[in-house]
Subunit: 190 residues, 2 copies
């Protein structure tokens, strides 16, 4: 998606440790007009893939997941990172190591939202080593649901997670793929 690359170049900042800061439009302050177009692009890519629900892990992918679900005309399921007073005990869970935050957490979602008749599209803002997607696949498998594929705003392709999933036969569509951020210079995969 050309517009995603343009936004990254014009508004993103590369920080030490291969951190790409896109808080200005993607995950702290949300450029909703832009993210609406992102949702429409995701829907275009997966229009014929039989998606019945979008799924993401809270929190930074929620807006993109909601807008993709809006464009696809399906519900979105939000997997929680923390237990909650009003969350059912009847949950599917997966342990996920966060590359960004350097911790491990238990992702959980009520069983009732993951059905064998469902075909899910995983949506997230970033894909790096791919741990979140691995965890979501475990959760979908527990419910016997199908995976249509993944839609990612920005893939840090140099971290290998996306290509490892593709090598397994998983469909991964990233709206921008970054092959390198060395010396603060962003190189996109064409």
């Amino acid at each position: 998606m050309e517009l995603m690359k343009q936004k990254i170049v014009s508004e993103g900042r590369v920080l030490p440790g291969n951190v790409l800061k896109v808080g200005n439009f993607l995950n702290q302050q949300l450029d909703i007009a832009f993210l609406t177009e992102v949702g429409q692009e995701i829907a275009r890519l997966y229009r014929d893939a039989g998606v019945t629900k979008v799924i993401t892990i809270e929190a930074s992918g929620i807006a993109i997941a909601a807008l993709a679900a809006q464009a696809l005309g399906v519900p979105a399921v939000i997997v929680k990172k923390h237990s909650s007073a009003n969350q059912s005990k009847e949950v599917y869970t997966a342990e996920i190591s966060s590359f960004t935050h350097g911790n491990t957490y238990t992702a959980a979602v009520a069983k009732e939202y993951i059905q064998p008749t469902d075909r899910f599209l995983i949506v997230d803002d970033f894909l790096a080593v791919g741990n979140a997607i691995v965890g979501l696949r475990k959760i979908l498998a527990q419910g016997g649901a199908e995976l249509a594929g993944c839609a990612i705003a920005i893939e840090k392709a140099f971290q290998g997670g996306g290509d490892a999933l593709r090598a397994e036969g998983i469909r991964v569509e990233s709206l921008a793929m970054i092959d390198s951020m060395a010396d603060g210079h962003i190189v996109f995969r064409s």
Copy 2:
């Protein structure tokens, strides 16, 4: 909003401890077609209020905030509950006690997203005692920004937070106001 009340009655469940479970459409599985209408209703209420940005605290209000921002044609700012490797040190913060989760956390947002020229609409899924809104007001005050008002999907009016804010002259628009949930029977304020 009549449709909100209908959804609560038909799909909500009252659990012990005055917990209203609306995970089926509002915050675990998101009925995006419905939430798009919610966003449009919020925009109708605040169309002439000079809103320049929507703001919410992660995570369960993000989708509603995004869809309200979409309908208003403005960006949305997401206040974080946790520090993050790619979050600026230059942040405004507020300590917030969560009634739902029974803990206290530090809400934080990069200073650059809160400007004196901004007029914010606070959006959230629930309003009970109002601690989140009190915290967000502190954050807006630190940045010298104005508050246009609050838009809430479901107000637990019997917990008093909304009325306390209104008594201070804050505009609070709740799409459904619950006066009682005694014995699992939901009574709306008319």
